[in-house]
């Protein structure tokens, strides 16, 4: 499958993201379980790839093989590159799909004023095809950035 020397080559998610995009445009994704798994996997495919690039460049972090990287470092790099839109979209929906059962739902927010506004205006996280379409676009933008 892949050489030991290049984890980034093995984990590059172009094919996976294109596959999700094709499934979305073909109308073959029909249930919420699939939408949830794809939303989550888009985020993790990028996180894995980013970490692999770092590892290949010599970065070592946690774990017996020092190959476990933190989300925080990943997020900080994306925010530095002004990818706030893409990060928030993927990370928020990834949390909602992996940890919350209701749809639509509201994830943990500490500032009560934000919760009040969301409740007042009925703003919630809708796990559906529209979110998945946006997530595919966000994933492509992030991939382009971290590949350079």
């Amino acid at each position: 499958m892949s050489s030991r020397s290049s984890r980034a080559d093995a984990l590059r998610p172009d094919y996976f993201i294109n596959l999700v995009e094709k499934l979305v445009s073909s109308g073959k994704i029909r249930d919420e379980a699939c939408i949830r798994r794809f939303l989550s996997a888009l985020y993790f495919s990028l996180f894995n790839y980013w970490a692999a690039i770092k590892y290949d460049k010599g970065a070592r972090r946690k774990g017996p093989k020092q190959d476990r990287f933190d989300y925080r470092e990943f997020h900080e790099e994306l925010l530095r590159e002004e990818l706030d839109v893409e990060l928030n979209l993927l990370y928020t929906y990834r949390i909602a799909t992996d940890h919350y059962v209701l749809n639509p739902t509201i994830i943990q927010i500490y500032n009560k004023e934000i919760v009040r506004l969301m409740t007042r205006d009925r703003l919630e996280i809708h796990i559906g095809m529209n979110a998945l379409r946006k997530a595919v676009e966000a994933a492509k933008t992030i991939l382009k950035q971290i590949s350079t």
């Binding site: 933190d70 925010l79 002004e82 839109v85 990370y91 919630e124």
Partner: protein, 183 residues
């Protein structure tokens, strides 16, 4: 719109020395006002020698300059305009960024993007690891179409104002862009 006004007051004390006090008045678009006195002496204004109002065209650097004279207590009170006690308490436990820089940024964002509602501060923790991730500055009335443009403008201004490192700790969120209303 918020505005920042700076007043300086000098008085001649017994013994011939002059004491100068600086007062920074920050007004919000809701017409509530915060008054921060840069000294610990609770003084009332007598003769106002200088006054300066910062318009919505003021740069972030201008806000950083004015905020520099405020005390820790003043900064805390100002931050409570954008965060509740619980959020502020969590912020103080972690201190991911300098509170002075954060307050200046929030004031500047409110002055420039007031049409999108008062910005609100939140902290993001990962639900699996419970580790702090980043700060969210939420613009309540901002939608999907404006989001990228606003991010570019705010982060560009942060970089021009010497807050480049902070751009990796702060995320700008257009609430209506991120979430959809329940139909």
């Amino acid at each position: 719109m918020s505005s920042v006004s700076v007043f300086e007051y000098s008085e001649l004390r017994i013994g011939g020395e002059t004491a100068t006090y600086k007062m920074v008045v920050i007004s919000s678009r809701e017409m509530r006002a915060f008054k921060g006195v840069s000294t610990s002496i609770d003084t009332c204004l007598g003769n106002v020698f200088t006054s300066l109002e910062v318009s919505s065209l003021a740069t972030l650097k201008t806000f950083l300059d004015y905020i520099a004279s405020l005390s820790e207590g003043d900064l805390r009170n100002l931050l409570l305009r954008y965060a509740d006690e619980d959020t502020l308490s969590r912020f103080n436990e972690i201190k991911p960024v300098d509170i002075r820089d954060l307050v200046a940024l929030l004031l500047w964002i409110e002055s420039k993007y007031g049409t999108y509602g008062k910005p609100l501060l939140d902290l993001i923790f990962d639900p699996e690891t419970n580790e702090f991730q980043f700060l969210n500055i939420v613009l309540p009335e901002c939608d999907w179409d404006s989001w990228r443009k606003i991010v570019k403008e705010i982060k560009g201004e942060m970089k021009r104002s010497g807050l480049e490192e902070m751009t990796s700790k702060v995320s700008i969120v257009c609430l209506r862009g991120l979430l959809e209303p329940t139909l």
